[in-house]
């Protein structure tokens, strides 16, 4: 096969078609399951939607379920709080690392990144002990609290935010800070009026990706929560019981879980590209 054939519009079209199919087919299949009646689920599998037998019953059942509503609210609160906290702390840390001469700067950066190197499961047991025994005041402990999850996700998301935002802040010319200082600004004013607006694309990326991480996280949420702080991902597992699996409602919840993340990503994907390439070339 010649190189020109491989790069021809037809082959490019075929390549992206296959890739799109691989990505979207599971979502389509999940949607089909979520709108099928229970009896149709175990018939002859079909890729096509039979509109005459379509039902929104699974969605109605899930959305009217108070437990599911609580899980959804928990997920929203935990993900959003985590995204905001991580973005703010990440920006402050990145600014300090970018602008100040700190002792052991490179080592700090590497050390922070090592948090992301081990598989999260490695931390599970110590975290469980910390949540149940160490961070405990009377009857209250971090275990099964939204605060606990928010703080925990910060531990895993901050290195990423720090790494991403440092590149962004490094890309903002130091002369702008200096000009603002000479113009009479304090460090806080420089951060809020110069750095924050210019780092917005990077902050958007950080917020979105950390939000999605927290939204999709299952391992810690299932281990470190029991009743009050359960999130939507852990709720998914509750449809698999010893007496059987409620596939229709499971698929409906999965679709509802997917929706906010897909919506957010679709709306801001342009910012993500801008954020990831910010500072790559001198403006």
């Amino acid at each position: 096969m010649t190189r020109s054939f491989i790069r021809s519009p037809l082959m490019t079209f075929v390549f992206w078609l296959v890739l799109s199919f691989m990505t979207l087919f599971p979502v389509w299949w999940m949607f089909l399951v979520s709108v099928r009646q229970r009896v149709d689920l175990f018939g002859t599998p079909s890729f096509l939607l039979d509109v005459s037998r379509m039902t929104w019953g699974n969605y109605q059942a899930v959305l009217s379920n108070p437990t599911f509503q609580k899980y959804m609210i928990n997920s929203l609160i935990v993900s959003t709080s985590n995204a905001v906290l991580v973005s703010v702390l990440g920006l402050l840390a990145a600014y300090a690392m970018s602008r100040y001469k700190l002792v052991g700067k490179d080592n700090i950066f590497f050390w922070v990144l090592t948090n992301r190197m081990a598989p999260p499961a490695v931390f599970l047991l110590p975290l469980f002990l910390m949540f149940t025994l160490w961070f405990r005041v009377g009857d209250w402990s971090l275990f099964d609290t939204r605060l606990g999850l928010v703080l925990l996700y910060c531990v895993f998301n901050l290195p990423f935010a720090f790494w991403l935002l440092q590149g962004i802040v490094d890309g903002i010319p130091r002369e702008l800070d200096e000009a603002a200082y000479v113009d009479g600004a304090s460090t806080f004013t420089v951060l809020t009026t110069i750095i924050f607006p210019l780092a917005k694309p990077g902050l958007a990326v950080t917020a979105i990706l950390t939000w999605v991480f927290a939204w999709n996280e299952y391992l810690f949420a299932s281990t470190l929560t029991s009743v009050d702080a359960r999130t939507i991902t852990t709720g998914l597992a509750e449809f698999v019981t010893v007496t059987g699996t409620n596939w229709g409602q499971l698929a409906a919840v999965a679709m509802l879980t997917l929706l906010p993340a897909a919506l957010v990503l679709a709306l801001v994907q342009r910012h993500i590209v801008a954020g990831l390439t910010f500072g790559a070339v001198k403006g």
Binding site: L176, E178, A179, A180, Y181, V182, G184
Partner: protein
């Protein structure tokens, strides 16, 4: 407005001292230019005055007040950066008004002062635009207007014209000088361009290797240099240098005879290309190495033994290569420097 005084100011990075005991008095309303080659410490000096670099030792006074360790925002200086440092997310009006905004000036006051400052640099039609929509010259004027909008004690300009094309640079040079004159403000200006320094300055400070080589008016620096560095740095073409020996009060080489010298010993003679007169009985001689017509004059490069000198001649003059020419200079225009220390011998 305010005076600025540097007393034995030094800047060191570890063991390396890049500015050595700088003493300088800048008067209220003066236009002072810090001039020197790259890496001489002129920008560092300015950044120390702005408060953007710490002072390793010495004292910096502004308006009689010690500001050595004061934060930039408390110094009441305005600075124009080499790359203008305009805030890209703000419009021209917001850029100009930023110092007033951080000073929490009222909106009415801000709008009025922004328009006033923009008017001074002809930016009124561009107030709603963003820096990316402006030309280099317009951006430069925004940076100037941002400096003008409040009433700073001192204006600092760090090579503000270096990013402009030659034609615009000449125009902006005149604008900056006119602005300084009309406002009567104290301006400190950093440049490596001697023409800029000579045309703008009330006084020039010539720096090299972190040390002040000479402080003086442009005329003093040009006509009465203190050392070989100053003599060679200022002027285009550079001053001509001829090495030789003076004995019995007379400087002579194989190509120079009978020139009165202030002392005996190994000396370097310096003279300007434009002070030369071609004369058959001249005390200098050399062979024509190259001829460079520029339109307004013809520069003739002569080989004088080891030294090569440039003479400024009539624009129609075209000597043949290799021909021997005789020329002379007035005794008063012959400057002598110690061959050993490079210092001027008067």
């Amino acid at each position: 407005m305010s005076s600025v005084t540097l007393q034995s100011v030094e800047k060191s990075f570890g063991q390396l001292t890049i500015l050595k005991a700088i003493d300088l008095d800048i008067e209220d309303g003066e236009f002072l230019v810090l001039l020197g080659p790259s890496g001489c410490g002129k920008s560092t000096t300015m950044r120390m005055i702005a408060g953007l670099e710490t002072i390793s030792s010495g004292t910096l006074m502004m308006g009689g007040k010690d500001v050595t360790n004061t934060h930039p925002r408390e110094r009441n200086v305005a600075m124009v950066f080499q790359n203008y440092a305009l805030y890209p997310h703000m419009t021209v009006a917001e850029n100009i008004g930023y110092p007033l905004k951080v000073a929490k000036a009222s909106k009415v006051d801000r709008v009025q002062k922004v328009e006033e400052a923009a008017g001074k640099v002809d930016l009124l039609p561009y107030l709603a635009r963003y820096p990316r929509d402006l030309s280099g010259g317009q951006r430069q004027r925004v940076a100037l207007a941002r400096a003008l909008v409040r009433d700073p004690a001192v204006f600092l300009l760090d090579e503000p014209l270096s990013n402009l094309d030659a034609k615009l640079r000449v125009a902006m040079r005149a604008e900056i000088k006119h602005l300084q004159r009309s406002l009567g403000v104290t301006m400190i200006y950093v440049t490596h361009d001697q023409i800029e320094a000579m045309t703008l300055a009330d006084r020039v400070v010539l720096l090299s290797d972190g040390e002040i080589q000479q402080v003086g008016t442009p005329d003093q620096i040009y006509d009465d240099p203190d050392n070989l560095f100053v003599a060679g740095f200022i002027g285009s073409p550079s001053m001509n240098f001829v090495s030789g020996q003076a004995t019995g009060g007379t400087f002579s080489t194989e190509k120079v005879t009978g020139l009165k010298a202030p002392i005996d010993g190994m000396l370097t003679l310096g003279f300007r290309a434009e002070d030369v007169v071609l004369a058959e009985d001249g005390r200098f001689r050399g062979t024509v190495y190259e001829v460079e017509p520029t339109g307004e004059a013809t520069y003739v490069v002569l080989q004088m033994d080891k030294d090569r000198v440039i003479l400024r001649c009539d624009k129609k003059y075209r000597p043949e290569l290799g021909v021997e020419l005789h020329f002379d200079i007035a005794d008063s225009q012959a400057l002598f420097f110690s061959a050993e220390t490079g210092k001027r011998i008067r």
